[in-house]
């Protein structure tokens, strides 16, 4: 047993953080540079666990979870989650970004996250994941209306969405519990990163901002609020590591552990997101400052492969 990253993993993690800081700053989350996806592809980030035959790095989920937690800290594109899962579990590699659809009952329509420049979309279903094309237009099966798949903003200022019909032509995984768990694990990693981002932003501000002639972090009310953020983030991160290893081992209780990681990470991201705003006071409520960005991302993440109560009680 060793739940600490090894040297290679640490190096990978650090390199990711450094790269993100320079090319994908959280503060600029709503205005990502053109060509960002190509850079993410070039670094192999959507193929960390994909088989080598598909151009992947064939790494384990533990390493991937570490790296995705860093990516999550910078509010990296949601499409990385679905692309990583698609590239890992299907024999044919996917060309370019695979967007992520939130689970809905047939016959849709589907809510597609991060559809910009993606040709395919991945959908989580009970026991499997399914990938199909993104059409330019579709027929809403319920209203019988034709729709153009136009892009709209989401509450998370870094993520666009679109709507599309339920497609019948698709590929999907069968008889394997791991693909859906993989998506849940990566979404949990993003949420852990999001909780971290809020914690660090709050702690940085609490060290810097002075009132009553001292840094506000001097006051226990604030210090303890920041400490609670650290506790939530640490609990979620530890469980994330455990869950990643359980998935790597294909352990019998992997489903429980991944669900637990997602639940704690979602809660941590939301609670830390809210606390971060309170720590910032007036400036935390502004559009200009970045404090609202992790909170809004957290509200989106909680709908991506949410942890079902049944999975936690099973």
């Amino acid at each position: 047993m060793d739940l600490t990253p090894n040297d290679e993993q640490i190096a990978f993690q650090t390199a990711t953080t450094d790269w993100c800081r320079e090319h994908m700053a959280l503060e600029a989350a709503r205005d990502r540079p053109d060509g960002l996806w190509d850079q993410l592809e070039a670094m192999g980030l959507p193929r960390l666990t994909a088989p080598e035959a598909n151009g992947g790095l064939a790494l384990d989920h533990a390493t991937e979870a570490l790296v995705f937690a860093e990516l999550g800290r910078f509010l990296a594109p949601i499409g990385l989650l679905s692309s990583a899962v698609a590239n890992r579990w299907f024999a044919e590699p996917f060309d370019g970004k695979v967007a992520l659809a939130l689970t809905v009952e047939e016959p849709g329509p589907l809510r597609v996250l991060d559809p910009v420049d993606s040709a395919a979309v991945l959908l989580l279903q009970p026991g499997s994941v399914r990938v199909f094309d993104i059409p330019d237009r579709f027929l809403n099966q319920m209203t019988r209306q034709q729709h153009v798949t136009a892009h709209r903003p989401t509450i998370d200022l870094s993520t666009m969405q679109s709507e599309q019909g339920w497609a019948t032509t698709a590929v999907w995984t069968e008889d394997d519990v791991r693909p859906p768990l993989h998506l849940q694990l990566l979404a949990a990693a993003y949420a852990v990163g999001c909780a971290d981002a809020a914690r660090d932003m709050a702690a940085d501000y609490a060290r810097l901002r002075e009132q009553f002639d001292r840094p506000i972090g001097w006051f226990q009310a604030l210090k303890h609020m920041c400490s609670d953020m650290a506790v939530r983030a640490a609990a979620a991160r530890s469980q994330l590591y455990y869950a990643a290893c359980a998935l790597d081992e294909n352990a019998a209780d992997a489903a429980f552990h991944v669900a637990a990681a997602k639940r704690l990470a979602d809660q941590g991201a939301l609670d830390n997101g809210r606390a971060n705003i309170q720590v910032h006071g007036g400036i935390g409520m502004t559009d200009e400052a970045a404090a609202h960005l992790p909170l809004k991302r957290a509200h989106l993440l909680q709908f991506i492969a949410p942890a079902a109560r049944e999975a936690l009680l099973a």
Binding site: P153, I155, Q211, Q278, G284, T286
Partner: protein
């Protein structure tokens, strides 16, 4: 102790209800301050003309001179009728006016109070500065006395409605070299005076409702000082007690309607079958009931002793956090639809995002807890 109202009060309640039923505007109040200003002014004028503005303000200045209990009855009916938030009139009506009534000269009262009640003059509050938020005594904006004028330099921030306001409650340092609570004055600043620049600031909910205000040799008459030069801290504390106290009764009353709407929504979409949600709603309903009880208790205290008592800060803290719990429940009940929120939307998500202000504006929850600990419980002062 009793929870009944007198026949006159009940009659008054019916009057309020009837008028509101017939006059509450059908259209929604616009959200952005610049769009809402016309709406807010017209509505305030309407209230004034019908005798509903300044219910417990003195009759000499355009008020009705009625009791604070009647004021509460009005606010209860106001919320029940889904009447619009008073918006840009908040500062003038809820704390600027009351501060003047308590501290201002005859001339100041005679000039400003009727204008506030009629919705002719919009007020804003210039207390917070970039370096002085929770630590209000850290104010640096200064007013140099030159003859019979104050010459103002400095800046304020988070000033709600500054870009649409006519007057400002301005707390500034009028004694050079003075420290902390000393040497401050509370003055009425003309927001149209030369030298004032207003930079609106956008909120994370998308509205530009507050602003940064810069003063560059702004001149106002010395007679605009309220409560005497150098007495600014005392006057400002009275402003805050109105802002934190009676100013929020309307919000508190609104919560009793919000919880019923939430319960109805949870029944309608079936989420009430989730035990966790049902349990939460049940708890919230009990808490909302307690808010009314706390408000009545507090008002009774005012009627009996003429002062709200230190419990006012307890109500303020409790209701601000309860309001946030209600807003969180509202977005929880929306489910995935929260994802669709975009700037400009006027829905439960906007309320939730704007609602973060409840534990920041007018003194943060942490500062409120300090006040409760120190003034109510006699715990040692930490600052």
């Amino acid at each position: 102790m009793d929870i009944g109202f007198s026949p006159e009060e009940t009659h008054f309640r019916e009057e309020c209800r009837d008028w509101l039923h017939a006059h509450v505007p059908a259209e929604k109040r616009p959200l952005d301050a610049a769009d809402a200003i016309g709406f807010d002014k017209a509505w305030q004028r309407r209230l004034f003309d019908a005798g509903w503005a300044g219910i417990n303000w003195p009759t000499d200045y355009g008020g009705r001179g009625l009791s604070i209990v009647q004021q509460v009855i009005w606010l209860e009916e106001y919320a029940a009728a889904h009447a619009p938030w008073i918006g840009a009139n908040f500062v003038g009506v809820n704390h600027g006016g009351p501060t003047l009534i308590l501290n201002a000269s005859e001339e100041q009262k005679a000039y400003h109070l009727p204008r506030i009640l009629k919705g002719e003059a919009i007020w804003c509050q210039g207390f917070s500065e970039p370096g002085a938020g929770s630590d209000l005594a850290g104010i640096k904006t200064r007013g140099r006395i030159e003859g019979d004028e104050l010459v103002i330099n400095g800046s304020k921030i988070w000033t709600s409605f500054a870009h649409v306001a006519d007057w400002q409650e301005l707390v500034l340092r009028t004694e050079e070299g003075s420290l902390r609570h000393k040497g401050l004055s509370w003055a009425i600043c003309d927001m149209h005076a030369p030298g004032i620049t207003v930079r609106p600031i956008r909120k994370m909910s998308g509205q530009t409702e507050f602003a940064e205000v810069f003063y560059d040799d702004v001149r106002i008459p010395l007679t605009n000082v309220v409560g005497g030069l150098g007495n600014g801290w005392k006057v400002a504390m009275s402003t805050l007690s109105f802002e934190r106290g009676t100013g929020f009764i309307a919000d508190q009353v609104k919560q009793s309607h919000e919880i019923e709407e939430l319960i109805a929504a949870a029944r309608a979409n079936g989420m009430i079958k989730d035990d966790r949600i049902a349990g939460h709603l049940a708890q919230l309903r009990a808490e909302v009931a307690a808010v009314r009880a706390m408000t009545y208790r507090n008002i009774s205290e005012v009627v009996r002793t003429g002062q709200p008592g230190p419990e006012a800060s307890v109500i303020r803290l409790f209701t601000s956090e309860l309001g946030q719990r209600l807003e969180r429940m509202a977005v929880l009940l929306m489910g995935e639809a929260i994802i669709d929120f975009a700037y400009g939307d006027d829905d439960a998500v906007g309320d939730y995002l704007r609602g973060f202000a409840a534990t920041i504006a007018g003194g943060t929850a942490q500062i409120q807890r300090d006040i409760i600990g120190e003034r109510l419980l006699g715990l040692p002062k930490s600052r």
